[in-house]
Structures are given as C-alpha cells and as structure tokens.
C-alpha cells in the first residue's frame, strides 16, 4: 500500500521510500521510516494531496505519494 491509496482523514505510517526525483527532500522534510502521516485532503482537481507530518502541512503529488510505502493505522478513537 502506498500513501496514494490512503483516503483523506486516514492515518498511516511510513514503511519504505522508493526512488524518485524528490526522495532526499521528502526524507529531509521528515518522512522517515516510522513517521506518522495524516492525509488531510486532495486538491480540488484530485492532485496534489495535503498531509500533516511532524505537525505541519505538506503537499505533494500523487506521483511522489505512490513511491511512499505505508501501512494504514486505525484512527485514534
């Protein structure tokens, strides 16, 4: 499962990052293995997506999102 498959409102944890153009930057922005991500919303045209990571709002394209392998976790009660 990749970040691209996580629906808005759901949370997930980073498992692995595949190669892509922005890989190093994505890591430095805090998406390291084990990081909690909350998918906030999709842009009105369906792409990019907005996520909350390490307490701030980050937007990235689905092209990059699908290189980020994640596991979905149950939302906090």
């Amino acid at each position: 499962m990749t970040l691209k498959d996580i629906r808005p409102g759901d949370q997930c944890i980073v498992v692995r990052l595949e190669m892509n153009n922005l890989r190093k930057r994505i890591i430095d922005m805090g998406l390291t293995t084990g990081t909690l991500i909350k998918v906030k919303k999709l842009a009105p045209l369906g792409d990019p997506m907005e996520i909350v990571v390490r307490g701030y709002l980050l937007t990235l394209r689905k092209a990059e999102a699908r290189t980020i392998e994640v596991t979905r976790i149950a939302p906090a009660a």
Binding site: M19, K24, T32, P44, D47, R54, R66
Partner: protein, 743 residues
C-alpha cells in the same frame, strides 16, 4: 561573560578603532527554513526594507545589510531559505555553498518555534559544523497563542548553542539577540551532535578522507553529488566515492535515510523534553480557513473569484479612475515643466526630446503605476497571508499537464495584468529551468496594455462578435504559452522538472507594515527601471520617430510627419517581410514597431499615421472608419495576433533580461517570440484569406497530424514502458518504482 572583539561599545564614537584593534566587520549569516521569519528578522536588524512574504521561498538571492541597532559593527546576510543542506534548487545551493565555504563568522539559525520538529532538522545539519551558531527561536507570539510552552534553557542545553526566544518584529527581542551575539564565543565550536555508534564509526571513516567532520557528514548524506563538488582532490574524490559505494551497498536500511532518521529521532526526544503542547488535536484557524479556501468543490471557484476581484480592482473602474487622475496630474505637471524649459530658448529638438521622449515616455510608463501598485498591494496581501501557496496547491494539477508546477500559475496569471510583475514573481519557483520557461512564456499571455488594440480593432471590424474575437485572442495567447512550455521542456530545458513538494504555511494576518514595505519595494523596482533603462530606450525611439529625411534634408519632424521618420523608413523597408502576414500598408508595420515601447501605443501610432485627430486611446471609435478602410477582418486578426505574440514592450524586455540572467537566453527568448508571432500571423492570414475552404482544410490537416502524433506516442510508450513519472528509470526497462503505472 566576556565581550568579543566585535562588540565594542565604543565603535559609534570611534568607528576607526575597530580596524585599528585588528578587529573588523563581524559577518553574520541568517539561515533558516523558508517562511520562518528570516527576512522579517533581517529587516529588523538592518532597518532595510526587504521583501517578506508568507510564501515558502521569497528570498531568492542573498541580501546584505549593516546592523543598525545597538553598537555592534556587523554585516548581516539574509540567505535563501532552505529546509535542508541537501539542495534541490539553485537558490538553496547559494545557502549551502555559503555555509560550506564558511563565509561568515557566525550563523543566526532562525527557527520557527511553532514548527519546532521540522525546523530543528536544519539546525542539526548546521550544528554538525564547527561554526558558532546562535538559534533565534522565532514566532514566540504565535506559540503563546497556541498554548505551547517551550523550555528555552533546556533547549539551549540540549542543542549546545545559545537559544534566544524572539518575535522577529519586536525591537526589544532583537536587542537581546544582539546582546547575545556580542557575547558569543567565536572560536570553533566544540559541542557537536553525537550520533549512535554505527553512524559515528561511519563518520570517522569518511572524516579520515575529508579531514573534517562536517564535510564527512555532508558526503554521507549526499553521496556522489557532494563528493564531486570542487574542494577535494581527484584522488580523495575517488577514494570517497569508493567508500560511499561500499558502505551504501552493505547498509541494511536505505542508506540515505540513516542520518536523517537518526536526526529526527534525536529531535523527537529534544522536542518531547522541551515543549509542552496542550490541546494537541485542536482544530486550528488555518484548518477552518482551508476548509473553505481549498474546498473540493468551491475551492476553485473561490480562487477564480479572488483573482477576478484583484484584477477588477486593479484594471477595472477603480484602477482606471486612479490611473486617469494620476495621468492627468502628471501630464499637467509635465506640461508646466516643459513650458518652463522651452522658455529658456533652447533648440527645437530639445523641446521635442523633453515633450515626446522624456515626458511622453514617462507618462506612458507611469500610467501603469497606479494599476501596478494596486495589483502589487493585493498580491502582497495574498502572499503574506499564505493564500498564494494554496493557489499553487489548487492549480498544480492543471499546470502539471504542461510540465509546469502549480507555482507557475501565479506568474502566468499576473501576466494578464502586466508582464513586469509577472516575471519578477517567477522567483518563487524552485528550479532555474522552470523559472526560465515561465519567464519566456509570460509575454504570450495577453497583458492589460494589449487590450486597447483588440478593443479598437475588433470594435471596428467585428462589431457584433467583438467579444468572441477578443476572447479568442486571449485564448490563443494561453495556448501558445502552454505549448511553448511543453516545447521548451522537451527540447532545450530538459532539466526543468516542474517538481512539486510544498509546505502550506499557516495563515497569518498580513501586517500593515509588511504589506506597505512589500508593495513599495516592487513599485520602487519599477520606478527605478522607468527612470533608467526605459528612459534611454524612449530617447532612442524618439530619435527614430522624430528625425528623418524630408525632401533630401535630415531634420526634426512634426508629429504628423511620422511617415518620413527613420522608424517610418524602417517600417517601409520591413513591409515586404510583413506582407505575407497580410500587411499591405507600411503604417501598421510602423505601429507594431512602436508597440515595443508600450503596447498600447500601437493604437496611438495608428491614429497619428492615419491622421486621426483626437485622443484615440480614450475614444477608440475615432479610429473605426480608417481601420475599416485599412484592414480586412482576416488582416486585422493576423495583425492583432502578431501584436499579441511578438516580443513584449521595453519594460517587459528589461524584466525578462533580468530574470533570465543572461543575454544568450534573453536573445533566444526574443527571437523565439518573434518567430512564433510571425508564424502564427502567417498561418492566420494565409489560411484565413483562402476563405471557408482554406479554414476547413487547415482544420482537417491539424486533426490528421494530431491523430498520427497520438498513435505514434501510444505505440512508443508501450514499447518503452516509460511513464515519465521520474527520471530514475530508463525508457528501455520496465519501471520498477511504479509497477502499477499505466504503461
């Protein structure tokens, strides 16, 4: 605490004493994340009016200023904001290089306290070096409002460097910061972050080659990209590359994640120990605003409405009224001045120069000023508030189709107003290549000054359907711009990635001071250009328009004699070139040439050349009869298309030269725009003048070509298995990263 050699209290009274004492100017560099308040701090420290916006990446080149407060003798450099020393754009490279080369005595690392976790990542990268660092913990006001408490003393202890809590706009906080700078120990810093044993061993093995811990860490983080930078000898480079290759191959985890992951772990512990957050999952004001502004359905309509409102205010009745008032006052002032100068009894050409080149030119340019100022004002508000980042987020999908990032949308949109601010705003793009592409396509977007051309000509010839004709021209401009973007990206600017990874800053209330400074900075830039480059250009154009041979005698001409001017001769000379475009008369050709001064002067020149009395700019109907006589609808359409697409006015050319950064690119862009304008106008006239059959044939031809192109593309794609999503895979092999991608 001891005072260092720069913090001498006496330097105001004895400015020379510093150098005499072997001291000098303390070089301070501001380093921090984009949008962390660096520029506000810089302004506060130096008193300089610098550009500050709530859009990640506003500082695009380093700026330097002298500290004006307190008695410290220091030079502060504001470096482009970076998230990491591993850079992805040229601007970021400026900061990383500056830091690597240690071109400063001390670093103020500005950290946004409301976003501690991510900001401390860069701090840790900086701490790896031995440069003296002071952390300015900014946004303490916002932190207070959010019920976040930060234990500064503990943070200071954990980081091992001084931490000064500030609100960048507060003077007293800056004084405290300066006080701490003045007492800072400037010798190489001993305390540096220690990592886990594995990483320490790794660093050690690299340090044996680099000789420096910081450089060793940089090599581990960035690998070959860092190792091959100038600095290491070829032998060391080879050894480093071999070492990197061997350690990265045996690493269990992704090697490039080892250090960042460790840093973030450290940061998490530090944050947990020093920060207390209550109401963690509270819905923030930013959330509430974004629920509306980036809403799935109303997000785009709202964006269009906001942009429309800005344009309406700048170019609609309000902007027009202010412009008219302003131009009238300026014109009166100039008439009085000109009468005064003429009464001094100088030669006739002096009067003409002053009237037509200096004052006429200034009015042509300054006429834009009120509208530009209004546009700049609203854009600053949108930028400072944080909305511009949302606009890029909303529009990215649409721009991505043409290989551009959402950030390119705002510059293009501004292009509808005026190319000059549009080009200046391309600096918010990360990649130099993306910036070049955007700058080069902006002139195709129909700017406000081109509107009078369409208004008059379409009004005269296409009475009932004038709106459709004008709309079609705007549309033509957009299509040419977007197709050019694709063309550039596929050919000469392959480095353009159109990458998109953007932080959405929290919404902030724009402050009056920032908004005014911001607007003024941009207006000032325009004024300086009007007074220098443009004035020179106007004098040249004036000379060409008001001197010529009449009856074998070279002399100054009256306005009505423009036909005989040098420019007129050029127009006549160029007529054969323009003839295939449907120009049967030299007068439209001359009008096009004067359009390079200011596009709206095309209408004025037509009026002069066809001998129409009265102000044709405010009353276009005066021109209708002569336009009906001079143009057929097809000729007129080709003429308008040429005026739209040909290289822009001098002001925009100057802006383009500045943003492209080299004459080579500038000349290429101008040549490209002229060629496209020529080809499009040629096609319009040649096809249009063949009547319905010609248009249908052309339509069929385009359809057939696109069909062939589309089929070939599909076949090629299937063979090559390339999805174009990244450059990590070659077209020959199946894409490993995207096994699910559409092949």
């Amino acid at each position: 605490m001891k005072k260092n050699r720069y913090g001498q209290l006496s330097n105001l009274e004895h400015p020379q004493s510093l150098n005499a004492n072997g001291g000098g100017v303390l070089r301070i560099a501001l380093v921090g994340n984009p949008n962390s308040g660096k520029t506000t701090l810089f302004n506060g420290l130096t008193g300089s009016n610098q550009y500050v916006g709530n859009w990640p990446g506003v500082t695009v080149a380093k700026k330097t200023g002298r500290i004006k407060i307190s008695d410290i003798n220091a030079e502060v450099t504001d470096l482009p904001g970076v998230y990491s020393l591993s850079t992805i754009s040229l601007e970021e490279e400026i900061t990383a290089d500056y830091f690597r080369a240690k071109r400063m005595d001390l670093v103020i690392n500005i950290v946004d306290a409301s976003n501690l976790e991510r900001n401390l990542f860069l701090t840790h990268q900086l701490l790896d070096s031995d440069l003296p660092i002071i952390v300015a913990l900014n946004c303490m006001d916002i932190v207070g409002k959010k019920n976040i408490k930060i234990d500064v003393v503990k943070l200071e202890r954990r980081l091992g460097v001084p931490v000064v809590p500030i609100t960048a706009s507060k003077h007293s906080d800056l004084l405290e910061l300066i006080r701490r700078i003045a007492t800072l120990d400037l010798s190489p810093r001993e305390s540096r972050p220690r990592y886990n044993d594995d990483i320490e061993r790794l660093i050690e093995s690299f340090q044996r080659l680099t000789g420096d811990r910081f450089l060793a860490i940089r090599c581990i983080e960035d690998g070959p990209k860092e190792i091959t930078k100038p600095g290491f000898s070829l032998a060391v480079q080879t050894e480093l590359l071999a070492l990197y290759e061997s350690v990265s191959r045996v690493a269990t985890k992704d090697f490039d994640m080892v250090l960042p992951a460790e840093r973030y772990e450290r940061i998490l512990t530090i944050v947990a120990e020093t920060m207390v957050k209550s109401n963690v999952d509270r819905i923030t004001p930013t959330d509430r605003i974004d629920r509306i502004l980036t809403h799935r359905i109303i997000g785009i309509p709202l964006f269009i409405a906001i942009m429309f409102l800005v344009f309406y205010l700048a170019f609609g009745p309000l902007g027009n009224a202010i412009t008219n008032g302003f131009t009238e006052v300026a014109a009166r002032l100039f008439i009085t001045l000109s009468a005064g100068i003429k009464s001094l009894g100088m030669a006739a050409w002096v009067g003409s120069l002053i009237d037509n080149a200096v004052f006429g030119g200034l009015i042509a340019v300054l006429g834009f000023l009120p509208q530009l100022a209004i546009l700049f004002l609203f854009l600053s508000i949108l930028e400072d508030s944080g909305y511009m980042a949302r606009a890029a987020f909303i529009m990215d999908r649409a721009m991505h189709r043409f290989g551009l990032s959402g950030k390119s949308f705002i510059p293009m949109l501004l292009g509808f107003g005026c190319s000059v601010p549009a080009m200046a705003s391309t600096r918010t793009l990360d990649q130099a290549e993306d910036r070049k592409i955007t700058t080069m396509i902006i002139p195709f977007v129909s700017c406000g000054a081109k509107a009078p051309i369409y208004g008059v000509i379409a009004g005269a010839l296409f009475a009932g359907s004038a709106y459709y004709v004008v709309f079609s021209l705007y549309f033509l401009g957009i299509i040419v711009a977007l197709l050019s973007a694709v063309l550039f990206k596929k050919t000469i600017l392959k480095g353009a990635t159109g990458n998109y990874l953007m932080e959405l800053p929290e919404y902030r209330m724009p402050t009056m001071k920032n908004t005014i400074l911001h607007t003024w900075e941009r207006v000032k830039g325009f004024l300086v250009k009007a007074g220098t480059v443009l004035l020179g250009a106007f004098i040249i154009i004036w000379f060409l328009s008001y001197f010529g041979f009449v009856g074998g005698e070279f002399r100054l001409l009256e306005t009505a004699e423009m036909e005989f001017s040098l420019l007129g001769s050029v127009g006549k000379f160029l007529l054969p070139v323009f003839r295939p475009l449907g120009f049967t008369d030299w007068r439209p050709a001359v009008a096009i040439l004067t359009g390079f001064v200011a596009k709206e002067s095309i209408v004025g020149t037509l009026g002069i050349l066809y001998g129409v009395a009265g102000d044709v700019l405010t009353n276009g109907a005066l021109l209708y009869p002569i336009i009906r006589a001079a143009f057929t609808p097809v000729q007129a359409y080709a003429f308008m298309a040429f005026a739209l697409l040909a290289a822009p006015c001098i002001a925009a050319l100057a802006a383009m030269r500045k943003e492209l950064g080299s004459w080579k690119w500038f000349l290429f862009a101008v040549a490209y725009e002229m060629t496209i304008a020529y080809l499009v106008a040629l096609a319009i006239y040649q096809i249009g003048s063949r009547g319905r059959g010609g248009i249908l044939t052309a339509g069929f031809f385009i359809l057939a070509v696109s069909l062939v192109f589309w089929t070939v593309r599909r076949v090629v794609r299937k063979r090559g298995n390339t999805c174009g999503s990244c450059d990590a895979c070659s077209a020959k092999t199946a894409c490993k990263s995207f096994p699910d991608s559409e092949k």
